[in-house]
Amino acid sequence: MKFVDEFRDPELARKLLDRIHRRSTRPTRLMEFCGGHTVAIFKHGIRQLLPPNIEMLSGPGCPVCVTASADLDRAIALSRLPEVIITSFGDMIRVPGSYSSLQKAKAEGGDIRVVYSAQDALHIARDNPDKSVIFIGIGFETTAPTIAATILQAEQEGINNYYVLSLHKVCPPIMKTILDLGEVRLNGIICPGHVSAIIGSYPYQFIPDNYNIACVVSGFEPLDILLCVDMLVNQIESEQYDVEIAYRRGVKPEGNQPALKLMDSVFEIGDADWRGIGVVPSSGLSLREKYRRFDAATNFDITPEPSREAKGCICGSILRGVSTPQDCQLFRTSCTPDHPVGPCMVSSEGSCATYYHYGDADGG
């Protein structure tokens, strides 16, 4: 078993779809929180295959997309400091901040390097002891433990020129925020698969308990997603709401305890600024006092100009599930993957880029 093709069996998918069509009778609105799910759903054409009474919305689960302009402006300001190397995951480089992007700052002479892993950033720090190497730390609970691991490694190896700008965010508080905003009425949530690989399924329990909304953790193959939708339909039709896991090979209810412990030893919960939503209390991760010497936020003196959003860009309301990319007047006109105006068009998992590449539910 290779854990991929087995979960793409078209015959099983067809039968499962028939079952969903037979069993789903009510108007049903589901939100997939994770950008990876948005891509998988579009790539496999799942929206078009579901019965018309099931509506799918995309949520704020793309870490690149939810990074606030003000935080990008800070990253760009850091890149302009002397003797600094900025390291970042690829998508972040092209996201426009208020006035520039890391890509433009690189063209202007900034030493900005794309890395695949935070490990690579640590290597660059090791190889360049006379430079300050700053990693732009984005990502949810899936990624944060890996960044924590590099900070512990830097401490052990006595690497003193490695810094992290922690823009990490955590998922359950923003799910609560979206529900409390009340802008979209949901019946079920497709919970993120790889965030849950770390945090488990228990942290979502408040959603069925307090909001009567079905929750199922899903994997990323077509059968995973169809099983998840089938389980959500079951809960919604029977009005018995709970948190279930459709991705048991990758997610345990208690999560990954060693990873959680490691993350907790380096980071503490703090406030985070979400694009389109604003500052949400207790929804981000900051470095603990003990590791402040690795914190780019406190060790460098920068004063970026006040941030501003691109005119006409509605990424914020797309991230809240209130609008879709087709509602945006810039979509496919002045905003395209080659010339993105907002982050949802830059990230390969952004809603706008996904709609652009795979078309909308009507095949557009």
Partner: protein, 72 residues
């Protein structure tokens, strides 16, 4: 961004492991999955194994999928 792909663990040396991803060999960190053994599949995310894939659960899910697809 939270993309993670299955990778087969070929050898282990401390916190590092050599894995096979569809025929490509890579060195990864297994610091977050200390329980991993050679022959296991892991979920690989940005150079780190974030979980060991549970083969028993995978078989159970496939069994469930077959049962559901046959049920009327």
């Amino acid at each position: 961004m939270c993309l993670a792909i299955p990778a087969l663990v070929k050898s282990i040396d401390g916190y590092h492991a050599e894995v096979d991803i569809e025929g490509v060999t890579r060195s990864i960190s297994i610091q977050l999955t200390p329980e991993v053994r050679v022959g296991d599949y892991v979920l690989l995310h940005t150079g780190y194994a974030i979980n060991v894939i549970d083969e028993y659960e995978a078989q159970e899910t496939l069994k469930l999928l077959r049962e559901l697809s046959e049920a009327r």
